[in-house]
Subunit: 791 residues, 2 copies
């Protein structure tokens, strides 16, 4: 390889970069091990060593090596560059680097640039009351939590979208590279526009081992790896070896070459008008795991083996030999050349780092809230469905939402800060109108028969929920806005990613310098009740159960019963910050209930009594029929109408819940109703029949503290379903109108003895309907065409 | 390409294979559309057409094409071959084929091989009371539900492990190929042993479009795709075109070539002793989406476009033109040449299919329960920890389990029907002893420093929870046994896969011919309470919340409090069938509570009063202290001891729950306690302080029907954590002994006024401990070395 022979670094610069790297390595080891004696001015003894050694050394020297070289690149070319650390368990490395460049002390002044600060830096790492062992929200310069592996590259692409001047250097660990999410995220290059987006420079770090196993990509032949990366559409540059001097020259040469290629690609696209998908450069860094660490410990290979994954030397408090090895190891970095007498990093080294916001730790893109501008939002009322009276007109709620998003997209086209994300379900979920304003992003080959594709598109569709989620997270974390539409059942694919984002937000809420970012918004459509055509595999409303386990301060869940409520909720979500907003709404033509002003009011309240549907005017009801979710609302109203006809004296109160967290106690969730507010609506002693969109137990979990919980009877999805009709889905799970009427008869004290006839009638209606459905394959007209107030 | 010019099929055979394909296509279209007039003996009219058209045509003709050609291959070479359908929404195709080959009528006699059977076959598809629209458990020959995309290839590899004579043809859709799970599953070839495993023949079906978008792999240059697949380690064979005659010859040539390569590879490995990882063949089939369907509809391209994804002709009941198109389309398959007067598939065509169990729909590997042999299990008591008295000795529970698994592995080595799966966490979760019996499976390059790798290994480790899950599912579904060990937090990565497997099992329970398979067993370790070192990102006990939403008949959850209980539970899980068993257990050295016989009895009961820890002998207690999970159990016992010392007259009952589903009512879960059983243990009116491993709300969700629910106070993980000490994790979430004592004071009526001093003492102890932890970075000795009965 040519690069082997070029020497872009002068001997003096090479020396200094190596010293910078040694300094970062020194600080990394110090953080993992030392409690005290940070500069090793005294002989190292066990008293200086932390009682519990928690951290990951293996990946760290490689991360430090890259950081030092990227510093040079940024400084030499005045680049705008951020660093995404896939192997984010290498936390000490990133902390070391942002400390060396000065960012850390600016953000955390107590970790000062002197001996005392160094000592605090070492002690706090992985220490109770200190900082986590991984790259975390607490680490300046990071948009990527270093815990769960797999999402670095999609985060990096998300950050690069609409940031034409940004380069996102993204280190992908070879362990991480085995995950599914990462394996498909290489294809993100087919969705990046070289003209208006920035660039991602993936750096696959082959250090050969995971916790206990070799990595797949480190153990396939060189040609095969080369072929794989070319197949993913990249031009790989290999930097391989373990001799620092050679590796410094090679890395410098390679980074220069990559930058040149990036600039050529961008010039071609931006100036010459080339429209073909470019072949972006990437780097493969093959270096020993635990590079520069102890080569052998107790006769066993350590450097270059899985043994250096975490803390390569244990038993520090019982094995004095290990203390000696540690001291030798740390001294091999020659700290006396790196830090002055006061413990300050030597200025001639520190100046290798860029200054101000060009420092990777201080780049505002890595603290996206700093760059966040609110969306321009049209008045959602302009998109309202005209509802002359409840339950008489139909609309497709998500299509109406799509119109609102279309206009939102239009008004923010110039700002380039809004995108929609979906795994090939944008149109299926009825957001197709937005394509009239912007196409789907697509930088691969197109054919004349394709529908709305364009390299400048702002609708992101790849058949991978992981990519949608990862791109969106990266986009939000760098200060922009978005909405993710997904089939309800398959959003579970990203359960674990949602966990990590929720945890990130929760921690950020307590870090003053982390500025709020736009909320992560989900529309879950094609939901459980209307996946009658795809069947059982597509029926799972449990994502909201998953989300409510995260901190109340970051989670919000809405189930608007109709299009106008959905509009109001959508507007609210787009304005909110630092939340995870889950919106569940159907796409099929459905009856509409509320005029837009009523909808706004209802959504503001989150839960309210629908007086027009109730028969308890100004009195205590005999029964509360509560509903949450569009299909359960329909069935509850149909049941209420049946009761009005059949039992005109029964006082029925209909309650609709749009904001699910209203059900939780005010002490548990900021949206929660107080106990007395709850009792005013749900009574303290009347039967409450709650018809719910999701698994019924979720309602119990949210309301078990309520006074009237003993009277609460919940219907919901009980994991019964198949390919059938919409109404049959309801019947299978007993959320249908006829079962509800039977429930009322059974639950209202004293009613059952007088209503045997009505129970029987309901059973007959159920039988007739099921018979009809099984015979004709469709719901009876009585059901399909039912409207409120027909009778 | 050479293949283009060879013609392995005689004109007569080509003709017949084409007819077979037409028959499958005819039946597929018929299933999607027709209600009646199955053989088109009358002119087609709207009365013959289903009211709701539900199904997917686009992928179906390609699936049918492959099935017909695989039939030839099986028959000509007497192969043992199963078919995994990644694009399983192409349900009508698979149903059509298993009908044509005769399997379907054997399993479902009412769907007979005559006109009446045909009519029923058509009507039942996607029809209420009929069969689902996707390939489902109801479809003979399938081990792969066709709903969620992404898992076909890992299922296929799971099926191939330890089945040396089996070929698993696995169709991967180009939509599915974009998912993360699929993208990494290509690398499964580094874990397959050509000597003792079977072979997977991946067939990437490029039909170009998803629901509304082109697919990535169909729109990258040919060279790039070729490079990608070679990079994944395969030798791709391309079959591309749309002219049936040419495509038949090409596919036949290619399948012959692939089979030859497979046989050469297997011969080399099995006879010649070649040990290098082979380069397995694979096929890329590029054919038009909706191939042979209407080319244009209403002036818009249909065949070869995304418009043929689902039902290419809508409005059948309002647009007579469409009825005409459908009739023309169906007649283009010339049904009169395919079916005789009685509606029977012509024998000269049917004989193209293999016979008996060689038919893909009848292969017993696709109904794994038929092949299932029970594991030989050593007596788990032989691995028991000696516990002279409760809480005096320590053990690492999962390491003890690992010893039991080691011996189980040893006893079943010859049977080749047991494997362990883990995403690089086998050793971290303390199962390393099993490596003394069998190495980790690894067929890529090895180095001398590697630890226990071997191509014949039975421990499957790839850093992808998706692969572990997918391989294990494939392995179980073909009649073998396994256990999956995973970090508790990251098992959420496969939430959605677990959903699908739970749904599969639920449906299978109601299909008489589906024989029970071994349960899917999880060990979740490195759990929330002992991820104090990796921090917040690794702390999530919510997987059990996810699992309890699935049907009670298939889910089981165990939280053994110590090693002996874990042994008993493990033995039970390995003997069970058709369940998802989730076992949560820690790996760190912990106090042991029960002798093995006590443990067995406790696990049989699932929940019991620990009399030795209680002070309510033969009386009603003042308070019930319940615990579930190893760390909460430790803290509860420590609290009980404090109470015994400080408030010797207080009658405390200690209850431990090992089988979580005991808490649910007997009417809700087969393991559930009856109401009176529950009351005997938990009382009907005393305060119950429940210290729980997971999110506290789960306990409320399980117990809200219980008489004493109003007195139930649950502590658990409330999403607080970071890198800290084990005890600090407990304190942060208030499950520690001192908070528990305070809880008792607050909850036992009348206690608080007399115990202000004790409350204060507890607060002081908490402060002291937190101060110590923050100063020394470790838990105080009083906590670390605490044993039961010390005082």
């Amino acid at each position: 390889m040519d690069a082997m022979t070029t020497t872009p670094l002068s001997p003096e610069l090479l020396q200094r970069i190596d010293a910078y790297w040694r300094a970062a390595n020194y600080l990394s080891v110090g953080q993992i091990y030392l409690f005290d004696n940070a500069l090793l001015k005294e002989p190292l003894s066990r008293e200086h060593i932390k009682p519990r050694l928690l951290g990951h050394w293996g990946t760290t020297p490689g991360l430090n090596f890259l950081y030092a070289h990227l510093n040079r690149l940024i400084k030499e070319h005045d680049l705008n560059l951020i660093y995404v650390t896939g192997p984010g368990h290498g936390g000490p490395g990133l902390v070391a680097n942002v400390y060396l460049e000065g960012t850390y002390s600016e953000v955390y002044p107590e970790i000062s640039q002197d001996a005392e600060g160094l000592q605090r830096l070492f002690k706090q790492f992985s220490f109770p009351g200190g900082i986590p062992s991984h790259v975390a929200p607490e680490t300046p310069g990071s948009i990527h939590e270093g815990g769960e592996l797999g999402y670095s590259l999609s985060h990096a692409y998300g950050a690069a979208f609409d940031n034409p001047d940004l380069i996102v250097a993204c280190v992908v660990g070879d362990g991480e590279a085995e995950t599914g999410a990462l394996a498909t995220s290489w294809h993100s290059n087919k969705f990046l526009n070289p003209k208006s987006d920035g660039c991602v420079l993936p750096i696959l770090h082959l250090n050969g081992y995971k916790i206990a196993n070799p990595t797949v990509l480190a153990r396939i032949p060189h040609d095969e790896l080369d072929s794989l990366l070319k197949g993913y559409g990249y031009k790989p540059h290999f930097v391989e070896g373990d001799q620092p001097e050679q590796m410094h020259q090679l890395m410098a040469t390679t980074l220069d070459a990559c930058l040149k290629e990036i600039q050529q690609i961008q010039h071609a696209a931006r100036v010459e008008g080339v429209t073909e998908r470019p072949c972006w450069p990437m780097i493969v860094l093959r270096s020993p795991k635990g590079w520069t660490g102890p080569h052998e410990v107790d006769g066993k290979l350590c450097e270059g083996s899985w043994r250096s994954h975490q803390v390569p030397l244990g038993e520090m408090h019982t094995n004095p030999g290990h203390v000696k090895i540690l001291e030798t190891w740390m001294k091999s970095y020659r700290p006396e050349e790196l830090f002055d007498e006061t413990g300050r990093f030597k200025p001639e080294l520190q100046e290798l780092a860029p200054a101000g916001q060009k420092r990777m730790g201080a780049n505002p893109h890595a603290n996206g809230g700093e760059l966040l501008r609110p969306l321009k939002l049209p008045d959602f009322r302009d998109f309202a469905v005209d509802v002359p009276s409840p339950g008489t007109v139909t609309a497709e709620a998500t299509r109406v939402m799509g119109k609102f998003l279309e206009e939102t997209m239009r008004q923010n086209l110039d700002s380039k800060n809004f995108r929609l994300f979906s795994p090939d379900e944008n149109n299926s979920n009825r957001w197709q109108d937005v394509l009239d304003v912007t196409p789907r992003a697509w930088d691969a080959e197109t054919l004349p028969t394709d529908d709305h594709l364009g390299s400048n598109g702002r609708v992101m569709e790849m058949l991978s929920e992981h990519q949608c989620q990862g791109w969106l997270e990266g986009y939000l974390l760098t200060g922009r806005h978005g909405f993710f539409s997904c089939y309800e059942a398959f959003i579970h694919i990203v359960d674990s990613m949602v966990n990590q984002h929720a945890k990130w937000l929760k921690v950020c809420n307590h870090i003053p310098w982390r500025r709020p970012i736009a909320s992560l918004n989900y529309l879950l459509s094609s939901h459980v009740w209307r996946q009658d055509h795809n069947g059982f595999s597509h029926q799972d409303p449990g994502f909201i159960d998953h989300v409510v386990n995260k901190k109340a301060e970051v989670t919000r869940i809405y189930l608007p019963p109709d299009a106008n409520c959905l509009l109001s909720v959508t507007d609210h979500c787009l304005r909110s910050r630092n939340y995870i907003n889950v919106v569940v709404a159907g796409k099929q033509p459905s009856l509409q209930w509320l005029k837009i002003d009523e909808a706004v009011r209802h959504c503001e309240l989150g839960v309210s009594i629908w007086k027009w549907a109730s028969t308890d005017q100004d009195a205590e009801p005999d029964v509360v029929m509560a509903c949450c979710g569009d299909v359960p609302t329909l069935e509850t109203l149909a049941a209420a109408e049946l009761l009005r006809e059949k039992l005109p004296k029964l006082k029925v109160r209909v309650v609709n819940v749009v904001n699910l967290m209203k059900l939780q106690d005010a002490s548990q969730h900021p949206h929660g109703l107080t106990s007395s507010e709850f009792d005013v609506i749900f009574t303290s002693d009347k039967p409450v029949l709650f018809n719910f969109h999701g698994y019924p137990w979720l309602i119990h979990r949210l309301t078990y503290r309520r006074n009237n919980h003993g009277n609460l009877h919940v219907r919901g999805y009980v994991e019964e379903g198949t390919t059938t009709t919409p109404f049959d889905m309801c019947v299978l799970n007993r959320i249908d109108r006829f079962h509800l009427v039977k429930d009322v008869i059974d639950r209202v004290p004293g009613l059952a003895p007088h209503c045997a006839y009505l129970r029987q009638e309901m059973d007959e209606r159920l039988s007739e309907h099921r018979e009809y459905i099984r015979k004709y394959g469709d719901d009876p007209a009585e059901i399909r065409d039912w409207k409120w107030g027909d009778r």
